[in-house]
Symmetry: C2
DNA sequence: ACTTGAATACTTGTATACTAGCATCCAAAA
DNA sequence: TTTTGGATGCTAGTATACAAGTATTCAAGT
């Protein structure tokens, strides 16, 4: 139960359904989901470790506002990890991987404009495929957790601008590079792909100031 | 309380005081520390996420045996992160950092042979200093958590061989490289430093088979 | 001798009751 | 009008009680 609730709340926060700064409480959630406080508490602890909420003892629990610094920090770490991964898989020259990736891209192309949830799920699936194919399960677990902060920003992005076709194009270019066997080219394209958020982040932070912490 | 107990059990597992495979239970720990099951339970959840114990519902909780694959995975990820960090700090040319590092090394030289606890604490302090100086708090949190699996091996290592002076020498060489401003040299030395475990790991696994999972 | 099955003693998971601390609000006093 | 102090209602932290499931043990029956 606690694990289930953790995933539910996690996606709700990432999607912005639980707005930053909003107060939530163990009792409130236990009533809403008709469970006791204990599983809620355990879900809260996990969310706190992921920096998605802040538990203040004897005071209350709040959905954390997005920190630009933390997003940049997460992005940087993710870049380090994923660049290494994409280099690894490129060296492997695995045809079956290429096929899987191309199938994912085909699915991404079919996503209807505005369906940001489906796209982000397929996007995550692509990055996950790369990591697991490199045999880096631990690296993927870490990436998955730090990605949350970035995804919060991306969900805001999709609200007013949807460059989905461009992102799919970047994915295709990356896969092309992997197939070519040029690890540095693949890494370079992955890098610029992962740096896209750098240009959008300041705009988002300015457009949705109430979602971000002042710093 | 839960957080305190988490640290206590964490270090106990890393030091091998709680032996791999050993059954522990929430009730047992609650009695030993004179607290209720709930804080114990929360500590267990965290330890489970760090892969230090395994909680099997309705069956029991066990100290996880060391997995060679997981140690190698952790080492690899750590190398990626720390190489990036050491490159960053080298580019910064910060004299105060060099001073701090040299002080740490001086303390490491004073550690008495056999006092592996003190040495590992100072070792961690050095790596932590580098990460935080690069402004990579998130990267350090990740490193800290994945380091646990490696430290379990290192504590076994110290039981029969103590190459502490050699390790201190490696640290000194790394700091020299950082001071010289040659980022690639610093990274190269850090890399070989972090790869030391690769040679000792097979020996340890063979010497202490009961500490390792069969795979 | 072997197998089967029920009782028992564990385990973790969940629900509830109680404790301690913080914040707000409102009234009373200066 | 301003300040102070206490009552009240909230919060999370902890302790305890109960539920559900597993492994073991031991005895009874074949």
């Amino acid at each position: 139960m606690g694990a289930q609730l953790h995933r539910i709340l996690r996606t709700a926060i990432i999607r912005g359904e639980l707005v930053p700064g909003q107060a939530i409480s163990e009792i409130e959630m236990s009533k809403r989901f008709s469970i006791s406080r204990q599983p809620v508490r355990e879900a809260f602890i996990k969310l706190g470790e992921e920096r998605l909420i802040e538990v203040m003892p004897q005071r209350g629990t709040y959905v954390r506002k997005i920190s630009v610094k933390e997003v940049l920090d997460a992005r940087h770490l993710r870049e380090i990890i994923e660049l290494s991964i994409v280099r690894e898989v490129t060296e492997k020259h695995d045809a079956s991987l290429i096929k899987t990736l191309r199938q994912l891209i085909a699915q991404q192309q079919k996503v209807k404009p505005g369906d940001s949830r489906s796209f982000l799920a397929l996007d995550e699936e692509l990055h996950r495929t790369l990591a697991l194919h490199a045999g880096r399960e631990l690296a993927w677990r870490v990436t998955e957790s730090i990605k949350a902060q970035m995804d919060r920003v991306r969900f805001l992005t999709f609200d007013f601008a949807t460059p989905m076709p461009q992102l799919v194009g970047e994915h295709a270019k990356i896969v092309d590079a992997i197939e070519s066997g040029d690890a540095e080219l693949a890494a370079q394209r992955m890098q610029s792909h992962l740096r896209a958020i750098l240009t959008s982040l300041p705009l988002i932070a300015e457009r949705y100031p109430e979602h971000f912490v002042d710093e």
